[in-house]
Amino acid sequence: MARTSGTQVAIGLGIESFAAPGVAVAESVFIPWLDFSVQGVSEKSMYTAARGIRNMSSNSMIKRRYSQGSIGIVPNVRVMPYFLSLAMGGVSSSGVSDSAYTHTFTIQNNNATPRTATLSAETGAIETSQYLHMVCNSLNLEVSDDYAKATIELIGKFPSTDTISESYSQNTEFAYHQMTAKFGTSVSNASGNSATPLKSFNLTINNNVLLDEAFLSGSNDITNGNLSMGRLQITGSYSLHFSDTTELAKYRANTKNALIVEFLGSLIGSTSRETIRFSFGRLVLTKPPIEHNIDGLLVLTQDFEVEYDATDVELTAVVINNVNNASTRVYDTA
């Protein structure tokens, strides 16, 4: 009996047409993954009526079928645009400038019909599963003193079968030392300030997908278009050495605290560089931040929730790479 190692699992993803969610598309990116747990879920309901026998269950049925799981990666400019497109919904791409293209991702507020993806997973020679209508329930980013890690949690339809032929390109795999964080009274003010050295940064974009609302009479599978986003919650934390009262004052006074977190990688053109950038309009600091470490340094850990701000929207993400999305529409298939 052949055995299959985890490294023989290949994952491909393509963004489905916004007009036709759940209709399969070809993979346009193959994902070098750190964690992978997406699989079909066949939820059972047990029949437990009294029937003159002691055994609790005398029958069962498939209550509902869907797929769920997550993919963890080291973020790079090739894969991250797909994750951001699914997590945020709004995509706008520029033309070429110095061999590079700038892609801007924003929160799509008319998100009753979210952006969907086709995910294909080849498990060695055992099977290749195709997951349609995959939506992003949450996107998480964490950075401390090593490679950064992005984890996307997906929910979608029960799998069918597929075939793939994978390819992997070379990009900067972002780490903590390629990250800068700039604070300010607004995003524009923050961009002109010097970077604040951080010990760590964490971010979670939670779409709270309404899975229970996807199952209506007539089918125990997800019908195309039946997965909807709930309320958006963007939270996270950052930590830094406690060396002055600037950060502490922001927590105590609930001062408007805008933040730009940016990763810069290799050159694409003569000056353009691989970039992933998050701009937060207003962070509300939610917990007392001082950590008095007897065996270490004094540290501030600021937990935050992102508030909508009329002048600086809650979150804008930018990726700069060499993909001409304005022409190919791989990130926002119409």
């Binding site: 290949a10 032929s165 390819s167 992997y168």
Partner: protein, 61 residues
């Protein structure tokens, strides 16, 4: 034999083929493999006249 040039470094594990950014390489013989490789946006076919000749055009006599 078809030659291609790539603006990205990319590998195709199942096809046993890879190319570095800026490199010109011959495609594998299999038509299926050629079709798969040419799907990548960063890879383009190189026309024969784009490949410089190594012959000197000077008459050295």
């Amino acid at each position: 034999m078809i030659k291609v040039k790539s603006n990205i470094t990319i590998t195709f594990p199942k096809l046993g083929w890879a190319i570095n950014a800026g490199e010109t390489r011959e495609l594998p013989e299999s038509e299926e493999a050629q079709a798969r490789i040419l799907q990548e946006p960063g890879i383009e076919v190189v026309e024969d006249e784009d490949i410089k000749s190594n012959k000197s055009d000077k008459d050295t006599k």
